[in-house]
Amino acid sequence: MMVPVRCFTCGNVVGEHWEEFKARAKEGDEDPEAVLDELGVERHCCRRMLVSHKDLVDIVAPYQ
């Protein structure tokens, strides 16, 4: 639904970088690899948190 606050595996705070990652890599046309490197999300456990995330609030909202 919302992006996880922390990485499930290592506990690093990844929610902090979600909006910038989304704007630049998911909706923008930058290379996700370069964006993650720049944001300082180094480990692959933290990277998968952002790469594999999908915001679902807009989809769920009408059924509340």
Binding site: M1, V3, V5, R6, G11, N12, V13, E16, V57
Partner: protein, 253 residues
Amino acid sequence: MVPDYDVTFIERGDREARFLVRDITPAFANGIRRAMIADVPTLSIDEVRVIENSSVMFDEQIAHRLGLVPLTTPDDYEIGETTTLALDVEGPGTAYSGDMVSQDAQVEPADKNVPIIDLKDPEGSETPQRLEVEADAVYDRGREHAKHQGGVAVGYRHLQTVEVVGDTDEFGEDEPHILRGVIEDDGELVPTEEFDNDLTNRFPGKELVVEDVPNAFVFHVETDGSFTVEELVTQAVDTLHDRASDLKDAVQL
């Protein structure tokens, strides 16, 4: 008798650092690592009073997300002491960790851009979605709950040396020799990232023997922003010291 330890920094930042410690036993190195994870207290939201929550998430989910947000650590708190934070956001818009207002000026969210919940203004609804909560943050240790751990991915490796013992077979296969960590080469400390973690880049065409340096450990420490690496490490060592002296007092005749 407290011996002095030889500490050299390889990388040093507020939230991430790498340093070499010499002349400590593996048991002591592990003791420091464990103290950093479990014994250094931080503040973390533990109890949430929900005044209004008309968002798409349940109260418990919101409380869970708030608990994971790192808070800056004040310096005069006792274990179990609490402080209060409040969050009041109305849609349409997103409630961020940075929207939390704290009772104590020393306490604030360490990361301010963590989205807590997206609030909407649904069509056909009279009022937009709203989140108003009051939260108690408790000062406690990592061993009570993982949200109180100030250190993230804390670990250590042996310092290693690379010795050239000859030349490789001229017609042999060019295989990479991957090594991670820090190597000591002629008294110089070289992180393996400098040669892309591949020893064949630094010593082309050489037969190598890699060995651990006894009792020399390279720590890699990261924090979640609750405090700096320096505070985390010194507090961890202090807790070890306190526990050792408690034990000494307890067994004294």
